[in-house]
Symmetry: D2
Subunit: 366 residues, 4 copies
């Protein structure tokens, strides 16, 4: 209830602070018999890891994950999977001013108001470090979805500040530190980020995620709709301020004749809905898009108050990402995979008989 | 798990189909001692009720709610509150073609794929009729929030197709059938809707909701963030395709120096974050915005298939709303109120000691 | 969280007070395609109904159940099933003394302490009337278990005060008002109850329930063990003070060589464990036994206090059951069926692949 | 849903196998500001630890617990508390025969049936080793209950096979390896256990737990009753086959006039109900009792089958406890403390206003 568990049938419960001894999570509900080792999880962590380029925080964390349970002779057993990453580079320095100040745009103030005290070292639990466990857990969901069900979940940077990226070459995404799907845009991104770093400022971003191969029938009709749970999971990522499914906010100006996706025996003719109708997957690609705010950790001074309510000027000196969106693609993919995995299990719990005899219509007209 | 329950401490579990005998819900977890009668709920239902103007469906439903339990001598007792609305105007007509066809843009196809069968009468459970119970339950949450905590939750129409409404006069909202906060825009909306109805088409809309008076500390830091749960609750409303908190997608192009809300001893200097930092309320106004797609029930023919996979042309002849956004304001308010109520109880469960001694900083600089 | 929901995948959420307008529940998660009508539920309610013999309360409630949703053309649709029973015989009399007094052995005092107020009419929510909805929901679970999986759940009166019933003839159980499985014991029970009624006192009872045909694999290994959830569900019935699985408390004096159930290729040689090993069903009969306390509603005066803390003498004058155990058999069966149904869905959610290929060992040696 | 989480507001999610690298848990929902360090948890683990006397398994586990998160500068922060114990003495030996055989009375067979495979080393997840994390988490609950609310939770051995222990001297409990509250009975227990060990057999036991100082109002009225959740939590302990509240099964033969606890202005006159009325604490001592079966790991051969369904004879050669009841007292206390802690938070979530002004009646007449 304190909100550190995600999912209902495939659950992730996480713990850990930025500068504590370790972070970890428990993945419960994974079906037995899935081949699994650290080697399946580590590559996803490495994609999210800071310090991969000069454009992200220079914190050096190997983020080496250990599987502590739930796997025997290389296979999941159906019991909970304990995952652990020791914190090895917390830079135990003097936290004097951070301890007393509320950095503007950060959770310092709200944690203090909520709990009456806080672990101020590196943002404590509000640090983006927490997302490492999402990625680790998501790697398990992704593997199951891909190997057992043929479902792939892939994301990319769709916009960085004023730079919009519209061409999507999937093979390009992992070839640059921005998860940019258009290699021609990479130099522009590099230049923009270099200028920004000099300036000392930060910038927002947009990430898109596409899930392909999802069969029709996942999601619940009323509250726990697939789109509602995707919105929840994605909005729970640090810095996310908006979530869209399919056309998203463009639907405000659309007419019904334009928006409704017509259907032929060969499949749907369009996908404005983003693969979800009435909260349930339609068999088309699931399309989601998120907005990430510019990070608030800036070298440029900002006004705030301290714990005694006195005015202070805050300057962030430590390591930080000038664009949190740059490392958010693996996190967004993980969240989508975790929601899909949960809904797969929920669907087959109630509708096992239907699942067995399902003959869905092709997802896309030729 | 089948997804008909919302909330964790203040829960709403709903049932009912558009053309079944009745719809209803159980509100569990309401604190005892709240003065409550049908007269507190009915006005909210009347705001949502169809047939209030020529611009909404002409289905005539009195939507008369009965409280069946949980209230004694005019006060809540702490036991579950059963609410019931009998369906009195289902127009039991011939459903022949709807029974066999999948209306494009509707949940017909996905329900059939999920369950292997469906109640096709009026959309069954996927009908917007289900939202009446959200409004009824939300009325209880709203009352508690207002009377016990001084929290108000108010929404308005922010955009209808191409018409943007930017001036907000709260007292105007309930004076017109659009929940439009700018009375000068009403004639334009009237004209637009009249033209649309003649055309036989439908249009999207944007609704904004503002919650004022929320104290700092509501929301959980990691998964069950206040913004994440708002996104979930709002995205679970029929036809919603996007959710924003605060500046939402505008943050993509914003710089950190612009976006971070600075703080003085007198309060915050801006509210780009929409009243939530690190998933927890900051004491500022909570600002959310949603996009609603144009309804897919159109007189204009659309291509689809029937249950045997054969191509058909679908024309919707019955009563329908040409803009589902027109009646969505009370629903959106209800969802925000339900999430806030739940998080109020969650916060005081864990942090009762802090709640007792909380001295928050003023929410707004003078 | 206020505790009116049972189950995780097959859930029952109930509402209603003894003397309010109605009681009801929502059954969520039922698989689609189950033939269901009121006629499947009413007979179970009639078994529990008061007034069937002179040995139970003379309250006359037809307990006529209505299905309000979730069923279409005679089949469940997978959406929530709303069930409603109107209260028709609440005898709205003067509650003066009950309103002010805490009846000894009742929940009057604890409700007042918990909520600060209470609905005192007929015990309000603490009335045994609430169990009608358990029986109604249980009837759906029982039907699914029996028709789809060949699982039967049957109970009987095993002891009434000093009278132990050891011979079990299943066909006799529904032939007498005691659910006594040994017809030869019925006259003795009649005589005992008649004497008790004259005396004005009440007596305890023991009920046994047997579930046959449960396949191996239901239940979770650590907290949500099948036995743990059975204990929870059964202890939640009014007046239950003890729960046993298999040999129960007899195991305290047993040696390991006696207790462990040996296994041959043809099946288990004994069933001391009651069909559950490590929290998971073994394929043998599930055996549970519960103790029900004597009702505290007596004509014989008892000492207590009133809401002002003053001493009072309480005499119960209304209708009451001198042995609540007499009507508890259908309730206990319902609770067992609901837990089994929930665990069936939970098992197939996680282990669908195993379920498909399961080749269990025979449950009983020939 | 896979059942490795206990509680709703104060939750424990555990992982780990007997012979894996480590076991651990996440305690979520602990209020902030509680002084906490490993030194608060270790003594409880040491009480449960094997190898304290010749009467328990000789496995040598230091069971050294580490707090990985949720504590800062010696205080809980309100974020999840990660606890970890590395497995240091798993004796990685040849598991050949255990791998292929189903030990009678163990979970080997049911795990295999449920998951299709199992970690057979030392019983994997079904090992009593899992209970170490319950004790660790329970230590936190116990500390909060004691320091903040004055609630104590204490248990003792009430029966070992034929030896009943009726005199309770609390100060004696921790002075002998049996948790026996009557020092005069210790020599008899020693002799019994020595004889049993020579025999190669095992024996059952009964444990009682008493919670004192619980205020009235904890527990929910219908499903999540305090007694129901205690039954669930206690029945989830390895080897438990029965749970009683208050008089338990003795109520079957009791009359209402004997059983109902009368009430004077000075307090209750008796406590047959065990401190719970209508599922809610009454302010009296909470009394529970559990039956533990004799362990099935015996040197004496037993008949069973192997994974191919062939008959085998099983002899347990490793380290084992001849009476699992001997080490169960700290586990039972932990489970009671965890349930109470959860219900304290649940009660104050819904009834904060009542809690603030509560004036309960004295729990016991003088």
């Amino acid at each position: 209830m304190a909100g550190n568990t995600l999912g209902k049938l495939f659950t992730v419960t996480s713990f850990g602070e930025s500068h504590g001894p370790a972070i970890g999570c428990i993945v419960d509900g994974c079906p037995p018999g899935l081949a699994l080792s650290e080697a399946d999880i580590q590559p996803e962590l490495d994609r999210r890891r800071p310090g991969r380029s000069r454009h992200t925080t220079q914190r050096r964390e190997p983020d080496q994950v250990r599987i502590l349970s739930g796997v025997f002779e290389g296979c999941t057993t159906g019991t909970p999977i304990g995952l652990l990453i020791e914190n090895v580079d917390p830079r135990s320095k003097d936290y004097g001013s951070i301890a007393e100040q509320f950095r503007p745009g950060h959770a310092d103030y709200t944690y203090q108001m909520k709990y009456g005290l806080r672990d101020y070292r590196g943002g404590g639990r509000s640090s983006a470090r927490e997302t490492a466990m999402r990625v680790a857990a998501g790697a398990i969901a992704k593997k199951y979805l891909r190997e057992r069900l043929g479902v792939t979940v892939r994301g990319y940077l769709a916009q960085l500040g004023p730079i919009r990226i519209e061409r999507v070459l999937w093979e390009a995404v992992d070839e640059n530190p921005f998860f940019c799907p258009d290699p021609d845009k990479v130099p522009e991104l590099e230049a923009y980020m270099d200028a920004l770093r000099k300036e000392g400022d930060s910038i927002g971003a947009r990430i898109n995620v596409v899930a392909s191969g999802v069969p029709p029938g996942w999601g619940e009709p009323v509250f726990d709709r697939l789109d509602a749970e995707l919105a929840y999971a994605l909005m729970s990522i640090n810095a996310v301020k908006g979530v869209e499914i399919g056309d998203g906010f463009r639907c405000v100006e659309a007419k019904g004749t334009q928006f409704r996706d017509e259907l032929l025996p060969e499949g749907f003719l369009s996908n404005h809905a983003g693969g979800i109708l009435g909260g349930i997957s339609s068999g088309q690609d699931i399309l989601v898009s998120i907005a990430l705010k510019p990070t608030s950790s800036l070298r440029l001074p900002g006004r705030s108050i301290n714990v005694r309510g006195e005015p202070v000027t805050v300057v962030t000196t430590g390591r930080h990402d000038p664009c949190v969106g740059l490392r958010a693609t693996p996190i967004a993919e993980a969240m989508v995979a975790l929601v899909l995995m949960d809904h797969h299990l929920r669907h087959r719990a109630q509708n096992a008989e239907v699942v067995a005899g399902l003959r869905p219509i092709p997802a896309k007209a030729p």
